[in-house]
Symmetry: C2
Subunit: 379 residues, 2 copies
């Protein structure tokens, strides 16, 4: 039970409004997925996510495999039941985390040998085992295991690596097809910053007929021009009718830029990580609400926002919570930033449907003056 319906396409760009039909509800796209790495969107309860309007969240197979363990989650009835979330869930395979967080011991044709970042214990994960792990977790959308190369990467290494990722994708697909169940498997386009490799990767994956496609290994420090070029190269080769997910992309202006190129799904830890550190996104740009300058400020974080935090608390109070190291600060800031993202995505979608995407974009970006951009901290 998985379907992707395109509801509207922008006349001037590749932007599209769609619907992901999942076993846990319909998700409107373009969508930003809040990140709940360890089976919880940090500081927030599922009831908060519902109020924000989130219909899908992201979790991570690497983290859940190590703690609390995928068997425990399976026995608890799957991640939805375990964490009390009845909306849709996408799990990342954890490949990126093995490369960025664990101690990676060896990449072989067969899979990944790594040591846990928690206790140093040794593990091996093949593409097939990774599918089994994500099956136990029970997310609605699961990702094929891939090799993530750091930026910058030599062309020869990037080429070998993306070819390995393709072979792994094929193996993950076979394992998944044996028992597809209720889950959908997405393949991940790699190829570092080489447009021809990206095209090659996307074309090969398209030939395998995955239910959806992701673009991985970007937003990791490469220049914005290169990022845009890689997305364009991948999208060219991917089927129109399938959802496209830009992994780890989270800056508002980069999301808009990617929607223009035909991307439907996004995730990033940056908005919530920054929020926990006292820096939030608002309709007027970024606001470091924990700054002493806001101590006496009686206005809300974002005067245009209708979230619980903005309706009830001043910048001065939230600044006090951060200064006093009170958890409620991180919670209110997270709630606000995710509301900002949900609102932005909803407005964007309405604009695409109503044929006013260009106007909405200019208006949004003119108010939203931000020095940020690519280089998001990834998951």
């Amino acid at each position: 039970m998985f379907e992707f319906r395109i509801v509207a396409v922008d006349a001037e760009t590749k932007a599209r409004a769609g619907e992901l039909v999942t076993p846990h509800g319909v998700v409107e796209t373009p969508v930003f997925m809040p990140v709940g790495t360890q089976g919880t969107v940090k500081t927030l309860a599922p009831s908060d996510l519902q109020k924000i309007g989130a219909r899908i969240i992201l979790s991570n197979a690497y983290h859940l495999y190590l703690r609390p363990g995928t068997e425990l989650i399976r026995e608890a009835g799957g991640l939805h039941r375990f964490m009390g979330w009845d909306g849709a869930i996408l799990t990342d395979s954890g490949g990126f985390q093995v490369f960025s967080l664990a101690r990676l011991n060896r990449i072989t044709e067969d899979g990944l040998e790594f040591q846990s970042h928690l206790d140093g214990s040794r593990h091996f994960m093949s593409p097939e085992q990774n599918v089994a792990i994500q099956r136990d977790i029970g997310a609605d959308i699961i990702m094929a295991l891939d090799e993530c190369v750091a930026y910058p990467a030599e062309r020869s290494y990037a080429a070998r690596s993306h070819e390995l990722t393709l072979r792994w994708a094929e193996r993950a697909l076979s394992a998944w097809r044996e028992r597809p169940g209720q889950q959908s498997l997405f393949g991940i386009v790699q190829g570092a910053t080489y447009a021809d490799l990206r095209r090659e990767s996307a074309a090969a994956l398209a030939g395998m007929e995955f239910p959806g496609y992701a673009i991985g290994g970007l937003a990791v420090g490469e220049p914005k021009g290169a990022m845009r070029e890689m997305v364009a190269a991948a999208v060219e080769e991917l089927p129109e009718t399938k959802p496209r997910y830009f992994m780890g992309q989270g800056f508002p202006e980069d999301i808009i830029d990617s929607v223009i190129q035909g991307i439907d799904m996004f995730d990033c830890v940056m908005p919530t990580r920054n929020a926990r550190k006292g820096s939030v996104f608002t309709s007027g740009g970024r606001l470091v609400v924990k700054n002493a300058a806001y101590a006496g400020d009686r206005g809300p974080m974002d005067p245009k926002c209708t979230c619980y935090a903005c309706r009830n608390f001043s910048r001065g109070y939230i600044r006090h919570l951060f200064a006093a190291d009170e958890m409620l600060g991180a919670r209110l800031a997270s709630l606000h930033s995710l509301t900002f993202y949900a609102t932005m995505m909803r407005e964007m979608r309405v604009a695409i449907v109503e044929g006013s995407f260009g106007r909405w974009r200019r208006s949004f970006l003119s108010k939203y003056e931000d020095g940020g951009g690519s280089g998001a901290e990834a998951n």
Copy 2:
């Protein structure tokens, strides 16, 4: 605008059900006040406190005076507006914190000289200044500055100290009467573990005609028998018609014991502090939910509880949140423990009103097997 109405008195004990009428609503007694030392009940939002059924919370003049500063709170329209809480608030004078947290440099007839526990800055606080500070904060009920002696205390020191507290109480009362406004001032009975001093203290304060009375300096490590004797001595001398508040008392069985003796109000950081460390109160006794033993437990923290945490999450999930150091664990545990206290107080009050307090008590205590008791960590 402050009134205390006694609604019912138990036939067999001194337990009574009452109503505190405050400028921010009516508070039913006996009541347990959640502690929001720094202007926030740790991990919880005001909307959570409303759902728990809290009608009054406690905050602390010492902490708020140092951070964010009482002038800032006054300019923000008072603590209610600053923290977005429209129920009642009681502020402790902060005397206890000067003794337990700050570096106390000197106690003089005039007041307290101390250094901030945050930055070592030097401060002086007289009983009059303390009233002015609490006036700026704007709580519904404020406390007179007192000297808190540690347990055990020599009789001669305890006598001198409680006499100083009485002189300070008189000065606080004069300062408050000059501009009583919307707030009510409570006097604090001291006298360490000497029954005659407690009686002397209570009788003298009763003569000053405060709107309400507190018993301070207990639940700090003294034996339970001594605690009970001191409460009895104080209550004997306090007027029937005024509310009585046992400061820092928070163990369920000790609260019940004190209600029997005629106490109406309680506060303690222990339930929420323990919750943040993964230990909660349930109808079956205390539960260290973070223990590995609960990893696979699919039942709620307390099967009899109807709070959001118990309706939606298993012990296993909450255990995972603590193991993974996720803030949501502390939040759900705090929500539950405060719900447990609110439910206990509500049931107790209904029993007093309906004439079944003895039966309720026996039933509650038979199910609630707890090795705890006095010796609560105080504020």
